[in-house]
Symmetry: C2
Subunit: 333 residues, 2 copies
């Protein structure tokens, strides 16, 4: 295992110290339990948006804490759900009296631990709602998951829902919005090479010299099939077809297209894939109105990518375009 780490047991803690030092203008990192909270939390009267999950998917979620996106993120150990305690503490830290929404990727541990945290917070009188993101069309039921996995759609949900909370929407509204995003977003990923979890010390799976895995999960969970490596355009089509057909996306639909790197794939390959994905959609009569290309929900140093497609309308576009200021995503209106 070749990594820039010290003790495999301390990777998350030490990385969080780095995030705290590097982004002290935007976030505070709370230690024991670990959570990342927006510098100006709690914001009175604003719905708090909290997410979290296993570490190793950076910048998700900690990199999305800040103005216009998350109020807090709870990182577990690498590829391991956060326990209820940090989620509960983060909930109290961001509660501005208007309630808190949890955005939870659909992994069994995450779902259970966020549920427990919600019960603890509600016992304190904090109103909590949760939305489970399950946008991955690759497989139903998987390692760690009953139902579909939550993947790239989570990034889009956090941005859009964060913007709605920022403009003052109430808890019921942001919950409904988050459900609307989840209902309109689909994703699928693939890998060329696996990653190695520091405390495991060996790759999460094995792929042959000329093999790729289609439908991979962000923890290296098995996908749909292993195939001989193909040209980028064929890979893009293999990912896009089930994404488009699942919702389904139809001619005339307006969309946001997100090509995401798994962490170890050069940006040049993501842009190359993006070009073909947009072309394929355009040929189907689907309009790409907004786009995101880069490493946003990763799997350590895994090589591969995922494609996420979100059906948008004027409101979703307005919320996507709204200002955001976080470590990993920032722009002006």
């Amino acid at each position: 295992m070749k990594k820039i780490i010290n003790d495999p047991a301390n990777v998350v803690e030490e990385a969080l110290a780095g995030m705290a030092a590097a982004h002290a203008d935007l976030i505070n990192v709370h230690v024991d339990p670990h959570y990342i909270v927006r510098k100006d939390a709690p914001r009175p009267g604003k719905v708090g948006i909290v997410s979290g999950g296993g570490s190793g998917h950076e910048p998700l979620h900690g990199g999305f804490v800040g103005m216009g996106m998350l109020d807090a993120a709870c990182p577990g150990a690498v590829f391991t759900s956060p326990t209820p305690d940090p989620v509960y503490e983060a909930t109290k830290a961001v509660d501005g009296g208007a309630g808190v929404l949890y955005i939870v990727k659909n992994y069994t541990g995450d779902v259970l631990n966020f549920e427990t945290a919600a019960e603890l917070a509600m016992a304190d009188g904090i109103e909590v709602e949760s939305v489970i993101i399950d946008d991955d069309v690759a497989v139903r039921d998987s390692l760690y998951t009953a139902g579909r996995r939550g993947v790239g759609g989570t990034v889009l949900a956090e941005k859009i829902v964060g913007a709605a909370a920022e403009r003052g929407d109430g808890l019921a509204e942001v919950k409904a919005l988050c459900e609307r995003v989840n209902a309109n977003v689909r994703s699928m990923g693939m890998a060329l090479n696996p990653c190695t979890v520091p405390h495991a010390g060996r790759p999460t799976f094995e792929l042959g010299e000329n093999e790729m895995e289609i439908g991979i999960g962000i923890h290296g969970e098995p996908g749909r099939e292993r195939l001989p490596l193909e040209p980028a355009n064929a890979i893009v089509e293999r990912l896009l077809a089930p994404v488009v057909e699942d919702l389904p996306f139809d001619a005339g639909d307006r969309t946001l297209l997100f090509v995401n790197g798994m962490g170890g794939t050069p940006l040049i390959e993501l842009y190359l894939a993006y070009a073909h994905a947009e072309k394929v959609l355009t040929q189907r009569g689907i309009t790409v109105e907004r786009r995101l290309v880069g490493n946003f929900i990763t799997s350590l140093e895994m090589q591969g990518m995922s494609i996420t497609l979100l059906r948008v309308d004027d409101e979703l576009i307005e919320l996507w375009d709204a200002p955001v200021h976080t470590p990993a995503l920032r722009w002006r209106a």
Copy 2:
């Protein structure tokens, strides 16, 4: 070779098509010859800032084209200098009558081809100045380079000089500023694993299962030494010591600390390294006032990192903080 590509010969062209599609609000991508130009170029009365170099280091340079940074970037083939023609054409495209500054990483091909382009442009009556960035303390003379190599300092120079041009500084001023940045910035990198150039099809170098290369170049050029893999903190100290001692940076200095990923290293490792680097500097009495952590000057999927330290003053900080709006770097004042 496992890559998300079609034909190895078309990687750069296809990736540029993706950049063009993904960032049509910020940039135009000119084809034949290839260069990326700011959407609103030329800006009358503004000094044009142009950079470029081999592809494979994305987001450098094309990702830095936009408001507050570069007016144009000229990408060569992977790890290959752009020819004079695209540089000359880009120069004409951004010339707003106030002259053009070339920011050139110190690689022999880049230096020669930008010089030739400058001659062509000057024959057209465009005033052109050049600054060579040579911040890599690892080695003197190298594959592709006489003298020191230009690496991470280039990113900082492009941001700071871009901000100065944006506020209206003249050509002589931005040139002097760029020289000042170069005189005050030092870098060193390391690799855990090599990368593979698409048209070569095999890794640029070989490292043993438990080896790392200290002082690596961004094209995999040999560094100072190969050593058994060490803990992150020891690696950080190995990079920082020669960086600090070279300028030298002294107690009381104010700095910008930039921990850069080589493309295949998880963000979590970069933050972990950042934490220790800032700690070591603080212990030496060096103040870190600004920071940048992430993949900004990469070497395809190489695993490793570089550390860049820039001595700053009030003016450099003001220019660093100034608004920037490019595909890869964007923030508000």
